[in-house]
Symmetry: C2
Subunit: 103 residues, 2 copies
Amino acid sequence: MVRFLVLYQRPTDVAAFDHHYYDVHVPLAKKLPGLRGYTVSRNPSVVRGPEPYYLIAELEWDDIASLQRDFASPLGQDIARDVDTLAELCPGIHSTIYELHAL
Amino acid sequence: MVRFLVLYQRPTDVAAFDHHYYDVHVPLAKKLPGLRGYTVSRNPSVVRGPEPYYLIAELEWDDIASLQRDFASPLGQDIARDVDTLAELCPGIHSTIYELHAL
């Protein structure tokens, strides 16, 4: 399993970010054929470190090949451009892809 | 489902951190009775943002009550103190608890 973790700091315009995220971005991302799971954080609290991220989104694919196929598709490229729109409302976005290793 | 996400920046002493993390910390944490899943990142790559976190650990509980029960137990307190040892080897630790909301 491969996870795409996206950490969003507090947006400059929370209402505009939420509207764009849930009404535009999520419906686009959910069309990706290889997507196996998509969760967002609720009620975050920090244990160590500065203030909690505003939103933590986690998207999963079976493997890196299927993620790369989705990211390279025309839809994937539309979604990447849509993240540029989100980044205008939320300058602090940190996203990482990694394989999940169960302990 | 509740997730405890721990983001570790690159340790000052990678070998000592890895040794302590996998040989001391993980075996302790796996004894927590309410723990339902524990994964760590492999082969991370950054999509947006600075360099990837050295390690991303994700631990799961059924709900916030069972997580809090485990954290408050004597074992949970031992583990919190053990994180202080990890923090000496890795000053940049950011950890957050949140509920998972499936989209």
